[in-house]
């Protein structure tokens, strides 16, 4: 069946932990992970809930293919209401924790209430219990992981935890599992910490059975692994260069947001690119990149494992950072680098380590620092605010200093922990915040990649590239090449990507498979694993239904069509270099058509017809 058909409900207020059967009707309509957890969430949580109050819930959910032999089948998602955006939060992570949860026999874990004291959840197959975490509170992610492994004397234990940033209330805190894989966006870690839940530690040894047609599943997953291996992107490009190969690509097309999105090209892009990560250092002859790495069951292995030059100022007296750890991926490298004007690869790697060590979303963090740098250069904040830090664009020293503060919730780091929108409002310049629905942008300027403007504006979790990665088509030509400067046809393209992505995010598979796979490759794997028939059309419909359900929650939470917009800088200030010279984001040319195609009203509200078509809950 794919699903274990069991969910674990954890009430943090009274300390109870109980098993419940999975709602199979919902599973058939929403598949798993992102979709199914959202269906549970909207059924159980008032959209007006305080995101950091006890009535918000947090769901960790696997998909039907999580923990199976399907390539990349190791994903899980965290669903809650976001304290950063006020919208639904849904953050997806790889590593090994999701597969471990499934191997322990659970499709999802629902956390509700708030514990009076710090606790962690320990799961060993059917056994699940809350345990005191007073000794873990105040510890970093890396310390917590180590302490839990020592405590349980089990090297196979998989740990997801929050760091000091979340405890301090940083609004874009992540949940980190397996030391450096993150459910990163929208502050899901902040919600977890607000519940006094420090960590989830899981050991699962039951295996994942219950596959509908095991022989067919083995055959189809083997066939599809070959497709990934034979594809030049997933078989060679991603494992060799990782996502960071995009740094020079996006810079070349003039869509690399630079210095808080004031510019669209960064003169130092090459120094912080994938190619630079391969270059031997002068100091020790070793490159920044040590090796690539894969998550559970992954046959792509795009992950980066890196080291920092031991003589670099950031770590010269800190041998604890001399070892290998999770290296720069493109979005993090962009936010910490071009967006802050910093071209120091070692500094960016160190800052990325800190984001993992204390659980911060590096995209939101880097973008917030970029906004703070512009505020500083405009004179809106001074060294009195920053505690003496000259927070100027391009300063690696300043970037390192404010990262250490924010990770620990100290000094000016508390202000940076508010995120870009609240920081810019605090200092009187809301126009300098590069956000949608209060979430910071990722690494593509919509003046040079028009579809991404519509993607950001309509994303159900605020500015995000992973709701609809039209870069794939507009820049990389996957599955077909479209003109990045053209707005015609982009509403259709964005909707196709949004719906397909929602389906993939609900399956347990990684979205990166879609550089080689389409739903034509994915649906047969679901069909072989899950009860019922799962043709491509049904999987696509599930994706569309999920999108509408998330939108419905957001509207009920108080968002409106007016929130489907972009910062004035991107709508009014034209790009001044590269192919997009003279262009602004043409959102007004795309949004009405997008609403029409979605079946929404002219002001972006769902209609009764749409609710009925997708059988959405009242």
């Amino acid at each position: 069946m794919g699903w274990t058909q069991k969910i674990l409900r954890v009430n943090l207020t009274d300390g109870s932990v109980k098993s419940e059967p999975l709602n199979r009707e919902w599973a058939h309509d929403y598949l798993g992970q992102r979709g199914l957890a959202t269906r549970y969430f909207v059924a159980e949580v008032d959209p007006g809930v305080d995101a950091l109050g006890p009535d918000n819930k947090m769901i960790m959910a696997t998909g039907p293919l999580t923990g199976t032999m399907a390539s990349t089948g190791g994903r899980y998602s965290v669903i809650c209401k976001s304290p950063l955006t006020g919208a639904i939060a849904c953050s997806n992570s790889g590593g090994f924790l999701g597969a471990e949860m499934k191997n322990a026999g659970w499709d999802m874990i629902i956390f509700e209430g708030r514990s009076p004291t710090p606790v962690y959840l320990y799961v060993e197959n059917d056994r699940a219990e809350l345990r005191p975490a007073d000794d873990l509170w105040g510890k970093s992610v890396w310390e917590t992981d180590e302490l839990l492994h020592k405590k349980h004397q089990d090297p196979q234990l998989r740990v997801a935890t929050v760091g000091r940033a979340a405890e301090a209330g940083c609004l874009y805190s992540a949940i980190i599992n397996d030391l450096h894989r993150a459910a990163g966006r929208s502050g899901v870690g902040t919600v977890m910490a607000s519940k006094n839940l420090k960590a989830v530690a899981i050991r699962g040894t039951r295996g994942v059975g219950n596959i509908k047609d095991p022989i067919r599943f083995m055959n189809v997953t083997r066939e599809q692994k070959k497709v990934l291996a034979d594809n030049a992107v997933t078989g060679q490009g991603l494992p060799t260069y990782g996502t960071q190969v995009l740094m020079n690509v996006i810079n070349e097309i003039g869509a690399l947001p630079t210095r808080n999105m004031r510019e669209v090209r960064f003169e130092g892009a090459g120094k912080v690119s994938a190619e630079a990560m391969h270059e031997p250092r002068h100091s020790d002859g070793k490159p920044n990149l040590t090796t690539n790495a894969g998550c559970f069951g992954c046959t792509i292995a795009c992950g980066r494992i890196s080291t920092i030059d031991r003589g670099h100022f950031s770590v010269a007296n800190k041998p604890e950072y001399w070892g290998n750890s999770g290296g720069l991926e493109y979005e993090a490298a962009w936010a910490l680098g071009p967006d802050t004007g910093v071209d120091d690869l070692d500094a960016l790697t160190y800052v990325n380590f800190l984001c993992n060590e204390d659980g911060m979303d590096p995209i939101s963090f880097g973008s917030t620092v970029a906004a703070a740098m512009e505020l500083f250069e405009e004179g809106a904040i001074t060294t009195e605010d920053t505690g003496g830090i000259e927070l100027r664009f391009g300063s690696a020293e300043a970037l390192v200093a404010v990262t250490e503060l924010t990770a620990r919730g100290e000094g000016f780091g508390k202000a940076l922990g508010l995120g870009s929108r609240r920081l810019c409002e605090k200092y009187g310049h809301p126009e300098l915040s590069m956000t949608v629905k209060s979430q910071e942008f990722p690494a593509y300027d919509p003046r040079g990649i028009q579809g991404m403007g519509l993607t950001y504006a309509t994303s159900n979790r605020g500015a995000c590239h992973l709701r609809s990665y039209t870069v794939s088509s507009e820049v990389l030509g996957i599955p077909v090449k479209t003109d990045p400067l053209e707005t015609d046809g982009k509403p259709e393209l964005v909707i196709a990507f949004q719906d397909a992505t929602a389906a993939v995010d609900s399956s347990g598979l990684c979205i990166f498979t879609t550089f080689a796979w389409s739903l034509e490759n994915i649906a047969p794997q679901i069909d072989a694993a899950c009860e019922g028939d799962w043709p491509v059309e049904r999987v696509a419909e599930v994706g569309a239904r999920i999108w509408q359900l998330e939108r419905d929650f957001n509207m009920k939470a108080g968002l409106t069509g007016a929130d489907d917009t972009l910062p004035g800088r991107l709508l009014k200030d034209a790009a001044n270099v590269g192919p997009a010279t003279g262009k602004v984001a043409g959102l007004d040319q795309m949004l009405p058509k997008y609403y029409e195609l979605r079946g929404w009203t002219a002001d972006g509200q769902l209609t009764d017809e749409v609710r009925s078509k997708f059988n959405l809950p009242a």
Binding site: G242, V249, G254
Partner: protein, 84 residues
């Protein structure tokens, strides 16, 4: 005329020794086509996947056309890559 050629990712090794930061300035004939440059630098055709002239995508059908490249242009080429 002179143009700038950039080769990235696994194609970096095909650049001449004087190249720096994945780029080299080269002398080319006035009517040179993209495909002629791809052949001159021994880029295997299937690996000339993403071809940008001054940042603008050059479709495969355009790559044999003479006159597309002008003096001072920047031609950048990648093998199949992706990210996100």
């Amino acid at each position: 005329m002179k143009i700038t050629l950039k080769l990235y990712a696994t194609l970096s090794d095909l650049l001449p020794p004087e190249a720096r930061s994945n780029r080299v300035e080269i002398e080319v004939a006035d009517a040179v086509s993209v495909n002629e440059l791809i052949a001159r630098f021994h880029v295997p055709p299937p690996l000339a996947h993403l071809v940008l002239l001054n940042g603008v995508f050059v479709a495969p059908a355009q790559r044999g056309q003479p006159g597309l490249i002008q003096a001072g242009d920047v031609l950048a080429i990648w093998p199949p890559v992706a990210g996100g």
